[in-house]
Symmetry: C2
Subunit: 443 residues, 2 copies
């Protein structure tokens, strides 16, 4: 298979796309053009400020491109020309393509709050110089307010407090992480963060950020003031679709570049992946707001395989999350109970609780709580949540695999798993199996 | 559904069976009869000697039975009467049943080596008093020889060396764990154990155990002597089938009680599960030598659900293993390369290597190596091996889920997984996905 493929954007989705093209079509000429000199590991950004120590310790090496035969150009694409099959760049280049993959990513939302433009108010930008500036200012900060209690907000809070400053998280919903997890897990995370000194204010709206040039305090809707010498806005992202929109590509309901099940846009020979592309829910097919690096890489692997032949379908976005704050790891895949309820799904829940080692005297023991959610009629697993030790990271992927490969409650109840005293729960108490068994009683 | 169910045997398979009966048929009278006063966590036995400190710290609580409405009788069953639907016990009881589940387990093999009956030569028996004796003698032991480099042998070696004695493992095969893992992982484990001071002698046969009443040394086939004041025989187990055999039940090729896909024996209303039952390989259907607590629990959950109605099928034994010795965790599910070769399967291998955190500067980082094995014609995953950090424990279960729920290489290449810097590999480098993608090149 011959031809040239141009990938625009160098973060997770762009890299995965470019590498996938070379794996599937080794003879293709693949060029990746990105505007950043250096690319950050997106999920690693919060860890720059405590654990990792500097943005330079959180880079994706370019070797992953060059070793796979992808040519890298650092330049900013300024326009797309579909009829001429070329893009123009800020550096004066015209880059031709047979197939184009857009992976232009997203940028942080800036809420329409007065004072959001004050000095020492930051968003979470994937930009080395900008993050260095945050780090520099953090050294003198004594009181930081983080607006937004999602994953990034809480991870930043946990890392910032390690540097010794007082951190307050302000979240408008009744709980942090409430868009993803059910209440029980949200509460657990809030408790753990509170224990290590982070102040959490939920159901709380910000009216303004105040100060004389520099931020000095955050004014809440209830009239309270939170003193602050630094504010982080972590309320979400919006897809970068300006280029695509100007070139006439169809935009989806959720604001991403519309794509079909093969990651093709409304324009022949043009694909889109990652944060800039519209997502569709795996269960309903409805446009989904989820944007994750792991979704971007999966989409990149689909688009890359499809550029010259349609080889892979996107079966829809499941959403698999995990994080660790303070000493607690939590994770989920697919639907939560509240999500299933709001979609009107007829579902059944199974819960199991044990510890992540066996017997309980083994070192590293932590509670292990699992909730699994099944469709009532078919018994198909549609979601799961898990807490609290580090094994959550891969345990949530066991759940993700079960969802993706169609496991039913009755099959999970006889799941053949590996167990070991130093690594997992006991075979008698293995919580995925027991949660499935207990759910079956309600079918 | 009414009726009485008698379960004979109180380890993993028996407990899982009894609990499953109560879950599926809450009105059934379920009695579990076992000869042991106390039941040990089978996989925890090696850890008694170092990490856990005593057999009492490695018990399965009886609460799991009583809380689930199972009646417990401690007594030894001495004969089975199928026509009278009753069993007799050493304590003079006659216990009636409508349905009988045999979970009589296995016992350690004693090799026909001269001197195996000397004092301070032990097997690995699931018996509190016996294990206490080992622990007592270990206090004075300076040089221990462990015969058999399987999981139990190596785990014992690792724990014994923590108490300060010199440990030598003698293994007849070219590598330790060689019946399960491919050479690369076996070597890794051997290296790590060697580093912490355990001596490993592979391709080495024992001719005799020598001493005057008490063991003093082990004589090898090559004439070498290994000084030893304690010897552990860890060469495997054989199923306890005497009761079943006397009662006329059919015995399988591998020496276990023959069972069908519903865990039914050759006798109506009699089921068998766990180490005493014959196993059948998931891929070939051929009798399998595998015996694991995790298999026993899965079989128990099948038999328990089937006692009054056939509800669950045993799709065959996959074999999912994990262990941690020294600081290295290794795991596997399904077929190794050598196994696939010896069965004559037309297969394709994909390998990927990364680290279990991202970026690489995150704490707790360890190498992560994955090998996946697929059937060439269908792309179905049939096996996987993984090393080296603690996340191996659940990562091997992701592989196990993929095998059990029918994932193909092309589906695994676009697996939607959750990733997090503190918990997993990066989404770009997630090794299951990359191993699948690289395997696809060879289809």
């Amino acid at each position: 298979m011959q031809g040239s493929v141009l990938v625009v954007g160098g973060s997770a989705g762009g890299i995965a796309s470019a590498v996938a093209v070379k794996r599937h079509y080794p003879d293709a000429d693949v060029v990746l053009v990105r505007k950043e000199e250096q690319v950050l590991v997106p999920c690693g950004i919060p860890y720059i400020f405590g654990t990792l120590g500097a943005p330079e310790n959180n880079l994706i090496p370019d070797g992953i491109l060059t070793q796979n035969g992808v040519q890298l150009i650092v330049d900013e694409v300024t326009s797309l020309d579909f009829s001429g099959k070329a893009v123009k760049t800020a550096g004066g280049r015209e880059l031709k393509f047979d197939k184009l993959i857009l992976a232009t990513g997203s940028q942080p939302l800036v809420p329409p709050i007065p004072g959001a433009d004050l000095e020492n108010v930051f968003v979470v930008k994937k930009d080395v110089a900008y993050l260095k500036q945050i780090q520099e200012r953090l050294k003198e900060a004594k009181q930081v307010v983080i607006i937004g209690g999602g994953f990034i907000g809480l991870e930043m809070a946990d890392e910032f407090r390690k540097t010794g400053c007082k951190v307050t998280v302000v979240e408008v919903l009744p709980h942090c992480l409430y868009q993803v997890f059910d209440e029980e897990l949200c509460k657990k995370v809030e408790e753990e963060l509170t224990k290590v000194g982070v102040e959490i204010r939920t159901s709380t709206k910000v009216r303004a950020i105040e100060g004389d040039k520099k931020v000095e305090r955050v004014l809440l809707e209830n009239g309270d003031h939170l003193p602050a010498d630094m504010v982080i806005l972590a309320i979400g992202v919006r897809p970068n679709v300006a280029l695509a929109q100007e070139a006439g590509l169809k935009i989806g309901e959720r604001g991403g570049i519309w794509v079909d099940r093969y990651m093709r846009t409304s324009q022949k020979d043009v694909f889109a992946v990652g944060d800039c592309a519209e997502k569709f829910d795996f269960l309903t097919g409805i446009p989904s707001p989820l944007r994750l690096a792991s979704i971007a890489t999966a989409e990149g692997r689909i688009a890359g395989a499809n550029v010259f032949r349609l080889r892979r379908e996107n079966r829809g976005t499941i959403g698999v999350f995990s994080t660790k704050v303070a000493d607690v790891a939590v994770g989920m895949a697919g639907y939560s109970e509240q999500r299933a309820k709001s979609e009107g799904i007829d579902f059944v829940v199974g819960k199991a609780e044990t510890v992540n080692r066996h017997p309980g005297g083994m070192p590293g023991v932590a509670p292990l709580k699992v909730t699994l959610i099944f469709k009532r009629r078919t018994g198909a697993l549609i979601g799961g949540q898990v807490c609290c030790g580090e094994s959550v990271g891969e345990l949530v992927n066991v759940i993700a695999a079960m969802i993706q490969y169609g496991a039913k409650a009755d099959e999970i109840a006889v799941f053949q798993m590996g167990t070991h005293p130093a690594l997992t729960a006991s075979p008698l108490a293995y919580p995925l199996v027991n949660a499935a068994e207990l759910a079956l009683k309600q079918f």
